[in-house]
Subunit: 715 residues, 2 copies
Amino acid sequence: MQRFSIFGARSISRPFAPLLLVCLSLLGYAATAEEIKSPNGQLTLNFEVQGGVPTYRFSYKGREVIKPSKLGLELKGTTSLQTGFAQTDKQTRSFDETWTPVWGEAKTIRNHYNELAVTLTQAETQRTIRVRFRVFDDGLGFRYEFPRQPKLDYFTIKEERTQFALAGDHKAFWLPGDYDTQEYSTVTSKLSEVRGKMKAAVTGNASQTTFSPTGLQTPLMLKSQDGLYINIHEAALIDYSCMHLELDDKTMTLESHLTPDAVGDKGLIQTPANSPWRTVIVSDKAGDILLSKLVLNLNEPTKFKDVSWIKPVKYVGVWWEMITGKSSWSYTNMDNIKLDSVDYKTVKLNGTHGANNAHVKEYIDFAALHGFDAVLVEGWNTGWEDWFGKHKDYVFDFVTPYPDFDVQELNRYAVSKGVKIIMHHETSGSVRNYERHLEKAFQFMNDNGYNAVKTGYVGDIVPLGHHHYDQWMIDHYNYVLEKAAEHKIMVNGHEAVRPTGLSRTFPNLIGNEAARGTEYESFGGNNADHTTILPFTRLIGGPMDYTPGIFQTKVSAYNPQNNSFVHSTLARQLALYVTMYSPLQMAADLPETYNKHLDAFQFIKDVAVDWDDTKVLEAEPGDYITYARKAKGKSSWFVGSTCDENGRTSKIDLSFLEPGKKYTATIYADAKDAHYEKNPQAYQIRKQTVTRKTKLTQLCAPGGGYAISLVEAGK
Amino acid sequence: MQRFSIFGARSISRPFAPLLLVCLSLLGYAATAEEIKSPNGQLTLNFEVQGGVPTYRFSYKGREVIKPSKLGLELKGTTSLQTGFAQTDKQTRSFDETWTPVWGEAKTIRNHYNELAVTLTQAETQRTIRVRFRVFDDGLGFRYEFPRQPKLDYFTIKEERTQFALAGDHKAFWLPGDYDTQEYSTVTSKLSEVRGKMKAAVTGNASQTTFSPTGLQTPLMLKSQDGLYINIHEAALIDYSCMHLELDDKTMTLESHLTPDAVGDKGLIQTPANSPWRTVIVSDKAGDILLSKLVLNLNEPTKFKDVSWIKPVKYVGVWWEMITGKSSWSYTNMDNIKLDSVDYKTVKLNGTHGANNAHVKEYIDFAALHGFDAVLVEGWNTGWEDWFGKHKDYVFDFVTPYPDFDVQELNRYAVSKGVKIIMHHETSGSVRNYERHLEKAFQFMNDNGYNAVKTGYVGDIVPLGHHHYDQWMIDHYNYVLEKAAEHKIMVNGHEAVRPTGLSRTFPNLIGNEAARGTEYESFGGNNADHTTILPFTRLIGGPMDYTPGIFQTKVSAYNPQNNSFVHSTLARQLALYVTMYSPLQMAADLPETYNKHLDAFQFIKDVAVDWDDTKVLEAEPGDYITYARKAKGKSSWFVGSTCDENGRTSKIDLSFLEPGKKYTATIYADAKDAHYEKNPQAYQIRKQTVTRKTKLTQLCAPGGGYAISLVEAGK
């Protein structure tokens, strides 16, 4: 028998052989090889315990995606869960369901996989874990499961040691691994080049903690030299620390690297418990990565009984004017303030406060006139004079407006116009303070007509020692979601951890930032190819509140001292409403600017924020993406295309349209001489009648793109 | 001029001399010596800036208490506030007020001091601090004040460098300095012996973090070889880290050592701010230390407008039976539980759960029969099966009773008997979890008739990295006091930081543990001299919930497996109600035991818990203490005496009694052959008529004492 091979030809006295067999089995020297395939048979997952070490590999159409890779966890102060294992049980099943998201890119989502759950026993410790693999047609998910058992009640993770041994020196679209920020520009390079490019990749941020010259973030997008697209991320990050990837650039093996807490621990687990899912999406077509619902599917269905209060939102806001420096969040120019010691009614105003009654009413009027659902107002509450960078504990109270912001009057006015005001809770990273005020703050929202909040975690986490992505903070973000749900409040979390498909479980999580958003166009700019990458990386976990729609691409027009410019043509700003999927979409520019371009603005007014269907017409990460999406409950479609700094000619056919119907296509496109830097505002709008047989050829300027609305003729 | 002496005979060209004068002054080379005295003229505080370093000294009746000692703070990442100072202003004032505490040892308290506030400017940084000294007849208080100023808004303390240079190798009553516990036995030794005795002094605790072989806690009680009694502590610990003392055992200089947070910082300060007061109480009479109200006086008057809901409490409780192991806090013998996953209605009971309806009613009946105000019930709420030592976050919810504890029925029953139930909130150190549930837990108390809570912080603080005494936790304890006050709830904080007189500001803080309490008599025992020391150390900061009244001194009588015994005679257990001042006094033993000794129990029934006057009749730390106290609003007095393991004869006169009145003295005393170890329950009770001219001679057995009630004849 193979399992005896390690003993060679040595004879074993007969009476002891059965016992030895048991022992060997428990010691993990029994090599039981398991294999499951995806429902379509094209993806294969293999698992075996090799020399006591759980090992898996993963292939796509016979091509290696993940070479044999180790699984396990290093524990603190006790025997690690890495070696000495034997497979003691296995279960397989097939699963196929179709579920309906509360909001999303498609009306329904199919969750179809074959599953293998292997039980592994560590004889030395009498501990048992399970590894559960799910193989979908679009990739692999697996997690560790820690059943309740006498010898494993509580344990502390020193490090998770999950490997992803890649088959080559792939092209990677990567961000520096960081415990506190994801707001970096994506670097595109071979994996072997990561180390050399890391230093330049780590640009400044309000809070940042890199950990390795080869540390990377997820979702990590890869492309092999033979054209396989691979995406590695995690799903259902609950009560666990956020995973990074540590690259061994000699072997091209990635290994999990969890975010530590204040004492360097990487997670306290009480059994029974499961790790988040580790995900590998794979295809030989780039568009399949974009369409994958694997991460969502690996999350639990929501337990919310009533979801009627959760609705996609298109909004404007008192925001970009502060981001550009045209106006201010703060009401005065004081510094060093203590909230309880300032009488704002007697202080000298700075004259630049954006969130004042008259100005907010202008936004409400604009929103109402153009059919927007809501107006975000930042800088409405006291404390903005002294909110950042000091590790201040009691930084905001979340319920006290500045004297020139009349909560009740503004909400009365908003209601009269059929518009909601979106609440803003910047925490400045001071999470105990936020939790202390959370219940009152949410009740205040209920009392004053707010049904959505944008949260912010700018700066270091207070108390110091914690990181934005450690287990303690993960718990915080999810706590906020739960408490918000109790108050029927939707949450858009900025500077929170990157999403991992949790919106399936908590559909009130309607947005996250967790990447470099449009705000950076005012802080020096985003790369021209930024929006051709984000859907392959950040958006794999969930929607992003990217805040597109900047028509005035020169920031100096608002603030002469700011020479940043938006690295995009105006036409592409329209396309982003389609390419950057989110149920929460902002028209981020100022009403005064939109009023100068009402023809182009029409697309933002028309475009849907919730969809019955989504197609990827063409895509290549870092180069271009063209989506078509069908508006929820309507026959209209919307197309958006974004391309990199090189420009291109996009050729698409409209075969996704319904047979036998005619559509009026309104095409919002770059003018021939448009250029994201030299001539960003040159756009043209044309209309034509199309059918599903129409083929369109459309120029995309460098850093440009186009948007198309397709409305059934006569509707 | 003296200030030019450093230049010797060198000539200075005339035009630059005035400028130089200014510079020198700013650089701190101007030696302005300041002196203030106590109102009675016997205590003297001297201050001067020596070579740029703020320096003070302190004397009592011409005898050095604190030799020249440096003041200052070491800051993180910026110039420290230690050197380069010049005195740039000073203010003096005299203050005399008499205030009325909500509860206390006397009806009124006189707050009488002379004050010196010196303003110190650091030329290099353009920063200014103040040191404010208050000299009372019984000692010194001083603090740092950090005014609001452009160059000092926020700063992080690396260490406070306040010195107390002692005049000799004093006898000290000390505990090992520890960031997480005060539950040590006091060691009595010379300061020079601390280092050698430290290792043995550090006994095990549920959470402990010692930091130095010569680190000590406050209140630190000292006695000089020439008979001066000195006590060093702090007052008004708010938004600052708790102070320890680091002993330099070559120079006999103590230096402040603050408790660090999770990243090693010792406090984040936002100006304007003040440090807590550093206090030095001094007298040549030991009793004066006990009577000092200096620490209370240095706290701010309460801002509570209504204090009618704050009342002293005499109580019994379902507690000692768990401490001894006779019954259990937990309801089942399960381990590793998750609160949300257990259905307590279906689990198997362990049969030892103390807080069951029938048993609690027995306590209520007993309390009502004997005139107690309240019954503490621990172990009433779910989670006790798995509450400790795992750094569990969600450990209790503070509102869910075990199935056999009917909150509404028991409170209805208690109300019908005129008794309150005292709530118990054990946090297991998981403070985020407690704060998350705090509002609901307090509302639950309001809804169910509770008006007082005993809080607990057993085990390491969660999140890990924090310490029981760091600034973040100090803020937590005070936050709980504030929130409790909003709900008119009184707080008795166990394992919280040692009190610093905060009950003047927060009179709902009616008790603290923060030392080795009676519970340790069941965990191996307290030293026989323990209660002759605590009033000189721990009680200097505020009352202690010592839980006296153990009549069954052999723990094995309740739990055969526990061989601990109470290191006290029964008679002394009575004396503790007088010697261990607290507005919250427990009769900690079991009703079944009290029922066997109803004659002695009568003293506990009679003794007051609030006082109009207090006298120390005799005292020597570590040897004996005899107090007389006059009951609030009554003519009765109560005397209590405790002595160490040697026993003694106590001679007291009753001249504190009102002239011309006769009193019936009931004397509860050790029998002649009583002994804390060999014969603890041997007591005798006698009555005699006394007047203020009576002198009493009373034997105290080893580890014994006596209690006397003095009731005006005919009343």
